[in-house]
């Protein structure tokens, strides 16, 4: 074996098991969705929708190679398409309830295998990466990607259906969420811009005017309260998190007190979830179900959740404060 092929063989797993390889795979899936959307005559916005998924696919495939300004402009193009109502749903040749029930009787619990395969492959990859002393975070994400591929193959094998049906069903789920799919990615980018613009320092200095910098309990209280209030107003804890993390959590709690970031960050996020339980702005979770269940009072779900939400929010404050003190 020549040294060259040796190096090539050694780097093959690196290439194959890199995040880029699963990004490319995801991009290809998106391109298939885009191609199907362009042909979907029942989608009133098929060119806008198709272009949206085509661009997202291109960012997945070429995102690591493209210059950043080009990716940025493509993101702007996607947002303009969505902002002008250009992303819509089509028709997906859906199965009927009766068909699903007869399939369920025939296949039984076997239908769980492909779905369970996704977390199993994810965990296997993460464990192997840990054994090889590679980045475990990357292992889990690469595992998710290959888990999705394994699940597709397994599902086709169990159902004996066609690949075209497989992709059509994937497109159905993807379009059900629509352009909101990219919202978490955009919010994380917003956090980066906030950091560059030093918005966080500004909020932090504002809070220092009210709360003494050495009073940990009041800072924790301000952090959890800010997170819940922002979530209540916006109806979305994911949108509140970048603001609170850059403005309160990092500069006022993690840095000065030397706290483990993982510990307080996830508790801050769920302090926001407690806000979600209280707000009609989170219509998907609180108002839509009330309509779905024909409730007399459209705020009935929120009213039921309120005592739970207030209790668990207070426990967030106490837990975060106690954990910082203890660890």
């Amino acid at each position: 074996m020549t040294p060259f092929t040796g190096i090539l063989l050694a780097s093959l797993p690196d290439i194959f098991f890199s995040l880029d390889s699963v990004y490319v795979l995801t991009g290809l899936v998106l391109w298939v969705f885009a191609a199907m959307t362009f042909q979907d005559r029942d989608n009133k916005r098929r060119f806008g929708s198709g272009t949206f998924w085509l661009i997202l696919g291109a960012i997945f495939v070429f995102g690591s190679k493209m210059p950043h300004w080009m990716t940025g402009l493509l993101v702007l193009a996607m947002v303009v398409i969505d902002g002008t109502g250009g992303v819509a749903r089509g028709l997906y040749n859906e199965s009927t309830k009766a068909e699903q029930e007869s399939h369920a009787r025939r296949l039984g619990h076997r239908i769980f295998i492909p779905v369970l395969l996704i977390p199993i492959v994810t965990i296997i990859f993460a464990s192997v990466f840990r054994l090889l002393k590679l980045d475990v975070n990357r292992g889990a994400l690469v595992g998710l990607g290959f888990g999705g591929v394994c699940a597709m193959a397994c599902c086709l094998w169990i159902t004996r259906d066609k690949i075209s049906v497989l992709m059509e069903e994937g497109r159905r789920l993807n379009d059900a969420m629509g352009a909101v799919n990219i919202l978490p990615q955009l919010l994380a980018s917003l956090g980066v811009i906030f950091t560059a613009a030093k918005v966080g320092d500004l909020i932090a200095s504002g809070i220092y005017h009210i709360i003494p910098a050495d009073n940990l309990f009041l800072l924790v209280l301000a952090n959890c309260l800010g997170m819940a209030l922002f979530t209540i107003v916006m109806g979305n804890s994911f949108a509140a998190f970048p603001v609170i993390a850059t403005g309160v959590l990092a500069p006022l709690i993690i840095q000065p007190f030397g706290v483990r970031p993982e510990m307080v960050a996830i508790i801050t996020l769920t302090a926001g979830s407690s806000g979600t339980l209280m707000t009609p702005m989170a219509a998907n979770f609180n108002i839509v179900p009330a309509v779905l269940l024909n409730m007399k009072n459209q705020y009935g779900v929120i009213r039921f959740q309120l005592p739970f939400a207030l209790t668990i929010w207070s426990l967030h404050v106490i837990l975060m404060w106690a954990m910082i003190k203890l660890f």
């Binding site: 990004y23 993101v75 699903q100 369920a104 395969l117 269940l293 039921f304 668990i312 967030h316």
Partner: protein, 251 residues
């Protein structure tokens, strides 16, 4: 506070107002980013690219807002990786994934309204741990959990049909079934390394310069997830107790 500082905060105001008024979320977020960047005096583009020749678009030594947006969006592709799992889940749904899940829930199901909510919440925590994203209100709560809960209440109130149940009880059961979905979903989803909340926290904290592990994020999500299960169990147990008392006192 300086005037420029006030303008910088306008980005947050745009997000708050935009989400509150239900404007297109994607548009709101990107406009907020552009406004914040421009208010902070950042250039639109980095130097060294195509845009050097055009005045005002670049500033030496500073990363442009558009470049930053593109870099962050590409770096955070991991948040949208779940799309690759959609074909398999979609096909499994076509072949009765929901119906078969309903079979499992029916087998586990308990005889009272409250215990049924606890079982369903645990089922949602389990789907969260497995990294499965599902919208449970239309797929499980409305077609399965609500009718089963009404059935359980009929047993407790010795009613022959849902019409014989007190109206406020039926309304409360509706709210309880919707709530058990939210409790299980919100706090259970952080128990998997591939769910959106964990990945958002991971990318935002990485953007702030903290090298963190997604597995420790999940570990630190366990206390609150456990508390959510206990608190909800208490609330649903109180509901059962209320119905037992109500059923024995004559109306």
């Amino acid at each position: 506070m300086h005037l420029q500082d006030l303008f910088k905060l306008s980005g947050i105001a745009i997000v708050v107002i935009g989400f509150a008024f239900r404007l297109r979320t994607t548009l709101v977020v990107v406009v907020a980013g552009l406004v914040t960047g421009l208010a902070a005096g950042l250039p639109l583009f980095s130097t060294g690219g195509l845009f050097d020749a055009i005045p005002f678009l670049t500033k030496p030594g500073q990363e442009g807002i558009i470049d930053m947006l593109g870099r962050a969006f590409a770096d955070n592709r991991l948040m949208t990786l779940f799309i690759i799992t959609l074909p398999a889940i979609g096909l499994a749904e076509r072949y009765g994934l929901q119906e078969q899940s309903a079979v499992v829930i029916r087998k586990l199901a308990a005889a009272t309204v409250g215990r049924l909510q606890v079982v369903y919440q645990l089922f949602r925590v389990l789907t969260g741990i497995l990294g499965v994203r599902l919208n449970g209100h239309p797929s499980f709560v409305r077609p399965l959990i609500f009718p089963m809960s009404v059935g359980a209440a009929e047993g407790i109130f010795h009613a022959s049909s849902a019409e014989d149940l007190p109206e406020d009880v039926v309304e409360e059961i509706k709210a309880a079934t919707a709530a058990s979905e939210n409790y299980g979903n919100f706090y259970g989803q952080n128990l998997s390394v591939v769910q959106a909340g964990i990945l958002l926290v991971f990318t935002v904290m990485s953007g702030l310069g903290y090298a963190i592990s997604i597995f420790s994020l999940v570990m630190f999500a366990i206390p609150i997830a456990s508390i959510s299960i206990i608190l909800a169990a208490i609330q649903f147990w109180l509901l059962d107790r209320k119905y037992r008392r109500k059923a024995t006192t004559p109306r």
